[in-house]
């Protein structure tokens, strides 16, 4: 097929325009390309290709042991320290290679925050829990610390409950409050992306609702990726849903599409509760 010069240029222009349009509309926060992760040679995450757009909530769902958490932990390189871990492919964070040699792990993890399945406040005062990350990254002078602590606690709706006991141990708090504290702690270092690994699985329904509503308030300033076992939760909060099975990404699409008209039979079975 022959293409004239003019035609080619027009096509290129169109391409560029379309791209610009796409970029302007929804720049990619995370771009996963042929990503494979193994523990001791056993493939846990298999050839994932996924684009997560900026300022969205993406839920990763799937049966237990399907590699959701491992994939999530690959994004901020939390698997690096685990023995036997190896990976191929790439993950980009706003166009930067996460696995490049010159990436500073510390600043990567500042930009990509994480909240875990079980609340894990540090064994120090409530106030200190939030301040320590800020201090570690020298994000603010000491004199601002009180305001930052207050702002973060207000942001997660914890300020009223704990304002009188900032110096006390966080282990006195309820599980839900502890998780909110962990959320505040993650937010305190001003991340661009927040990864949540089943953040509400150990919480009661009311705390769960509190966390979900918060997450919805954080977008679009923040890009959120949440691993969840709870399909109803994914339905309630997610813009996009990725369905994982046996380490592979089976289907990725908008929340409505995945739940109402799934393309893959496995997805259909899973979301209708036939297995998982």
């Amino acid at each position: 097929m022959e293409i004239t010069k003019d035609k080619a240029i027009t096509q290129l222009d169109n391409f560029a325009n379309v791209n610009q349009l796409l970029v302007a509309e929804s720049p990619k926060a995370i771009n996963v390309c042929d990503f494979t992760g193994r523990f001791h040679g056993r493939t846990v995450v298999d050839n994932i290709n996924l684009e997560i757009s900026d300022g969205s909530i993406t839920a990763i769902v799937g049966p237990s042991g399907c590699g959701k958490s491992t994939f999530l932990r690959s994004i901020n390189r939390m698997n690096d320290r685990i023995s036997g871990w190896s990976r191929q492919g790439s993950i980009e964070l706003y166009g930067e290679q996460v696995y490049a040699n010159d990436v500073e792990l510390l600043s990567l993890r500042r930009r990509v925050g994480m909240v875990f399945q079980r609340p894990n406040p540090f064994p120090m005062s409530i106030e200190e829990n939030i301040a320590c990350g800020v201090r570690a990254h020298r994000l603010a002078p000491r004199s601002h610390m009180k305001d930052i602590v207050r702002a973060r606690l207000e942001e997660v709706g914890l300020w009223k409950a704990v304002s009188g006991r900032l110096k006390e141990s966080p282990f006195q708090l309820s599980g839900g409050q502890q998780q909110l504290l962990c959320l505040a702690r993650a937010l305190a270092v001003q991340p661009e992306v927040l990864l949540l690994d089943e953040p509400t699985s150990s919480l009661d329904p009311i705390s769960t609702q509190a966390v979900e509503e918060l997450l919805k308030e954080f977008v679009p300033e923040l890009t959120i990726v949440i691993v969840t076992h709870n399909l109803a939760q994914a339905k309630r909060i997610a813009d996009n849903v990725a369905f994982f099975m046996n380490g592979s990404l089976v289907e990725f699409g908008s929340c409505e599409q995945i739940f109402d008209s799934p393309k893959e039979p496995e997805t259909a079975k899973y979301v209708s509760g036939i297995f998982g």
């Binding site: 023995s83 792990l105 993890r109 540090f122 064994p123 320590c132 702690r185």
Partner: protein, 372 residues
């Protein structure tokens, strides 16, 4: 409850019957694959004894350690009582240590026969014990803590297992071997190489304590270093277990907000383990206070004077009891032996305080871990 069931099921303590609660099938136990059936029979008999014995028997057995401790303390105090009466409060404050005259007729003081001129002051020994132990802790605690951190956080599982094996071997080395090494190798080394450097320290109060004549290399520093090395395995293995108990999710949490390994150690691991580490330190202190042979061989065993510098000869309570027992037994009135027993009382009180402190702190540390 087991007493009741056993009466309906045959002879209690019978070696032929398994316990009524026995879980394993009989055929498996008698399998010819297992050549040591005699031991199995014994084990089964023992299990029968344990499970069918009446409750009070286990209560009695369980009380043995407690009764032994009480008995030791009572007997020791009883033995020391005349000396406590005669020596009075001065025993812990003054320094002169003299058995008195063996040839003059004994005199009676407070109704107790004592040799003429017998005077006992344990102050240098108490101070020496505390000094040597403190020095040992100063050396052992940082080393143990760092090595435990490295073993848990940095080494592979295999390497840390090997380090664990060596730690256990270190605990098992007889203290006389440590003493020999201290007296023959470490002491002369410190005297020849460290002391000349230390003598550049200005001769002013406080700093003066870190310089001075070295004699034969035996002294406070040598004893302290040897003691320190001896208690490293104790503190390090406890610290290692404590660090292992720090939940992985907590360390992950620290790394996930971008803390360095050092920050994770300082801000996440340390607050979690610190009360346990204090307990481990007390455990090591208990060992250091009571350690006898290695100290006796490296301290210079001088009586009647406190150490003027870290290089001077000194003595501890435990080392004195050993080195003085022989001559004390030549005291016809028995007063010297009673004074040594009084020395033993002081040591046991110090040690008990340390051990109880350690237990309390360690149990609190475990309590913290379980509630959260």
């Amino acid at each position: 409850m087991s007493t009741h069931t056993s009466s309906t099921q045959g002879l209690p303590f019978s070696p032929l019957r398994g316990s009524p609660l026995s879980a394993s099938p009989k055929g498996q136990l008698n399998s010819s694959k297992y050549p040591y059936r005699v031991f199995l029979g014994l084990a089964r008999w023992w299990r029968a004894v344990v499970e069918q014995s009446p409750q009070y028997l286990s209560a009695v057995l369980g009380a043995i350690p407690f009764l032994a401790l009480v008995a030791i303390v009572i007997i020791l105090f009883h033995e020391a009582f005349p000396a406590i009466k005669v020596n009075g409060g001065g025993f812990v404050t003054h320094s002169k240590w003299s058995v008195g005259s063996e040839y003059a007729n004994p005199i009676r003081r407070d109704g107790v026969a004592t040799p003429v001129g017998a005077t006992y002051g344990a102050w240098p020994l108490i101070l020496g014990t505390l000094e040597a132990s403190a020095l040992a802790l100063i050396i052992a605690v940082p080393v143990s803590l760092l090595s435990a951190l490295i073993v848990v956080e940095k080494l592979s599982a295999r390497a840390s297992r090997w380090v664990g094996v060596f730690l256990e071997i270190l605990v098992g080395i007889p203290s006389v071997i440590y003493g020999l090494w201290g007296a023959l190798t470490l002491g002369p080394f410190l005297a020849h190489h460290l002391a000349p450097i230390a003598n550049h320290i200005p001769n002013v109060p406080i700093l003066r304590f870190f310089r001075g004549p070295t004699y034969n290399g035996e002294g406070l520093l040598t004893a302290g270093v040897v003691l320190g090395i001896m208690i490293i395995p104790i503190i390090a293995s406890t610290a290692r277990d404590l660090i292992r108990q720090v939940p992985a999710s907590l360390k992950d949490g620290g790394r996930a907000i971008g803390m360095t390994d050092f920050e994770v150690s300082r801000k996440v691991i340390w607050p979690w383990i610190k009360s346990g580490i204090v307990g481990a330190t007390f455990l090591g202190l208990g060992r250091a206070l009571g350690e006898t042979m290695a100290v006796l061989m490296t301290c210079g065993a001088v009586l009647g004077t406190t150490a003027h510098s870290i290089f001077s000869n000194m003595n501890t309570i435990a080392a004195t009891i050993v080195s003085q027992l022989d001559s004390a037994q030549t005291d016809g009135t028995g007063f010297a032996v009673r004074s040594l027993a009084e020395l033993g009382c002081i040591l046991i009180v110090i040690t008990l305080i340390c051990n109880i402190g350690a237990k309390l702190l360690l149990s609190r540390a475990t309590h913290d871990t379980t509630t959260t």
